[in-house]
Symmetry: C2
Subunit: 459 residues, 2 copies
């Protein structure tokens, strides 16, 4: 590349980033309004908290506290800290009391502690109790750690870096890997902030990521003392025993690397737009089925009524269990996925959907006399069994198979022998449907987008 | 089992063995005739040999020399021994001269040396030259060893044991494991004789074999000094570095164990009858195809014009190569075999005979930047490829398969990429036919018996 080309690319990238920054930076008015609402709620919370416990204090956490929120985000997180001498029960009681005083129209939810959630002037507000500890290593539950994160980052994120955090978050959203929820298994906000701090901005992060060789290990405070088996390891600056990127799947690390390279090569704003594919049409589905000549098969059932962080691990487990079950019986799974809305679906595309009417059954080596004789006698007079004959020194017989088609297998009770999440198992017990081949079209109404993503896969 | 039952079984067994012995023991007249013919030929050979070389001598070897031949066998093996000082060329020249003098109507054949073969009064006679050595460890070719075997066994086989050798040979023939040729890969005559000597008779051999735990190691002279990786090891009493049972396949050792147990449990004369199955009828074939719902497929070609000891290793190699080729492309081989007469056939039964139109193609891990980018760029714009997408940190694409049916594969030039014997490869180059499913019926005329053995398998 000539110097001139390099300069032009540089200009392109800076122009694109500036354009995105315009989009994601909250305007002055938005900042002021958020500040006003947050301050008012903090005052209210503090008054209520100190009335219950003189030692309590209140602080704002999360991206709106760290100046790293993306324009339009409307989350205000208020943490109420109580001294560690308090017992947990009292903490929860006080926490809820402060929450209701702060958010008179709020309702209770339950994460690690119960807390109060409500809407105030268009903002989504959480009021969460926690213990005030000397260091993050003493925490009793994950929420106790949050204030330390905010404190750490507030010391390091200047306006320039905070702006780069916003751009990075938007990039990660655009490529579909933002969020440490158990469905996405991607990059959390805190992880994004640490990475931007560590590499010194959006662009240096992308340049570094483009060359990563997982496992990638970062330890901003150089205090790590545990080793992790994850593709990306970022030791929490506030807790040497924690990998902030523990939930981030290898697939998402690779995806980030792929798009980092793609963006650096050709900077374009559309990498920042999370565009779901158009729902697959029935005609397009039929064309894929024909062109691939695989057998699509799906188990569909009512989605268990769970939050996503509980539902998806169960769906992923069921996906593993069912695909292993199919593979074990010789119905070779070509590719598979799972998705959920009102109904949930485990979808598999099979390279082999029919097997012969017989299967091999290998007996013991002939020399293991008693065991071998027992095997021989069991099948010698079985009118349905071929053999026993001898292969490689063992008895072998060929018997009728239980299932000759994948549909028969999935419709049988043997489906319940595979690893399924508990709630998925219950849902299946209540009934399920198996659809095969062109019957898959019945899923298009609910899952056209998911099927488009499946049949037109992108990195 | 009561003592009375045990006694009755004992009686049954003795009765059956006595009956078989009657059948296999050569009558006095047969012995006399053989002795007369053999002596006459030996005299003729000796006269011719000593005329050429004063130090030469002549001896009879093989089962007719050791009194272990089965009634009706008509082989007379005459070895002409020359002093080891003779060069090989002269040995061969003298050998043929003596052969022709002994068998004026004989013709030359070639094994380790050229030798003369002919028929005399209904006997098949071989006149073979060899070197006369001090010990079997000095041998220059396998035939030099033979006189030592005869000498060793003549010292050990009394009439009783010789009779048991005949019964044992007939038993091994009956169950299909007699012969050290490379088609059968079973028990040679010499091996049978050593086993009967070692265990002290037919019945003790069967009782021992019923309890064998391969690898079984016997060393009659306790002079073995090499270890062998064979299921049955019998160190040659005349050569400590040789396993007499080297050619005996694990399958045949197991088969012998199986039938030893079966015969001891229920002594019957039919174990001594090698009864080929009735040729399979077309109706029976169709019934098997339907009942098994596998896909039978065969490659048929003109059998190369080779002796069995050269042909079968090549067929077995081709069988391995072709079944591996099928398996590698996802056409799961369920069971397979090979057979030959005028034509030769590699026959495979497939559990999977069709594959999808696409196949997975795994690229490098995304982090191997140059290699990964090359892979991505190669398929990103390929209209026939799905993806690339990312799975487990790697690029994956799905491309059209070369072959979607096993027939297409076997009919393609890719068949020549697998390991085939040289002569089989040449034969295939001259042309071959692929038959599938019910077309297999075309093989029944030539291979009805082989297909019966395949579809009605026995130990």
């Amino acid at each position: 590349m000539s110097e001139e080309d390099a300069d032009r690319d540089e200009d392109d990238l800076e122009r694109v980033v500036a354009e995105v920054r315009d989009r994601v930076d909250p305007a002055a008015e938005e900042r002021t309004r958020l500040r006003e609402v947050a301050d008012r709620l903090m005052d209210r919370a503090e008054a209520a908290a100190t009335e219950l416990c003189a030692d309590a204090d209140v602080l704002q956490v999360g991206s709106t506290a760290r100046n790293t929120w993306i324009s339009g985000d409307r989350d205000i997180d208020i943490f109420v800290r109580f001294p560690p001498e308090l017992d947990r029960e009292t903490l929860e009681e006080y926490g809820l009391e402060v929450g209701h005083a702060t958010l008179p129209d709020g309702h209770e939810e339950y994460a690690e502690h119960p807390y109060v959630k409500g809407e105030v002037e268009g903002f989504d507000v959480d009021v969460v109790p926690c213990f005030r500890l000397e260091s993050a290593t003493e925490i009793r539950s994950a929420v106790d750690r949050t204030p330390f994160h905010t404190q750490y980052l507030n010391q390091r994120l200047d306006d320039e870096l905070a702006g780069d955090v916003r751009v990075t978050k938007q990039f990660l959203k655009g490529i579909g890997v933002y969020g440490s929820d158990l469905r996405t298994q991607g990059f959390s906000g805190y992880l994004t902030e640490l990475l931007v701090c560590e590499y010194g901005g959006f662009r240096p992060l992308l340049e570094a990521a483009a060359d990563w060789h997982p496992p990638v290990e970062l330890d901003p405070e150089e205090h790590g003392r545990v080793s992790f088996d994850d593709p990306l390891v970022v030791i929490d600056p506030t807790d040497p025993e924690r990998n902030v990127a523990a939930v981030c799947a290898a697939e998402n690390v690779a995806r980030f690397q792929h798009y980092a390279r793609a963006f650096l090569a050709t900077p374009r704003t559309d990498y920042f737009d999370a565009d779901d594919p158009e729902p697959l049409t029935e005609a397009a589905l039929r064309e894929h089925l024909e062109q691939r000549a695989t057998t699509s098969i799906a188990v569909r059932f009512d989605a268990p009524d769970l939050v996503e962080d509980q539902l998806y691990p169960q769906l992923y487990k069921s996906l593993d269990g069912i695909t292993n079950g199919l593979d074990d019986r010789g119905f070779d799974v070509f590719r598979a996925t799972t998705f959920a809305d009102d109904t949930a679906v485990v979808f598999a595309e099979l390279a082999v959907s029919e097997r012969p009417a017989v299967e091999r059954h290998e007996g013991p080596p002939v020399h293991v006399r008693d065991h071998a004789a027992g095997f021989y006698d069991a099948y010698a007079d079985d009118p349905d069994a071929y053999g026993p004959f001898i292969e490689d020194g063992r008895y072998v017989t060929e018997r009728p198979r239980s299932f000759t088609t994948a549909r028969e297998y999935l419709e049988s009770d043997r489906l319940f022998d595979v690893g399924l999440g508990a709630h998925v198992e219950t849902a299946l017990e209540d009934g399920y449907e198996v659809v095969v081949g062109t019957e898959i079209a019945a899923l298009l109404d609910e899952f056209g987008t998911e099927l488009a993503a499946y049949f037109e896969p992108r990195p």
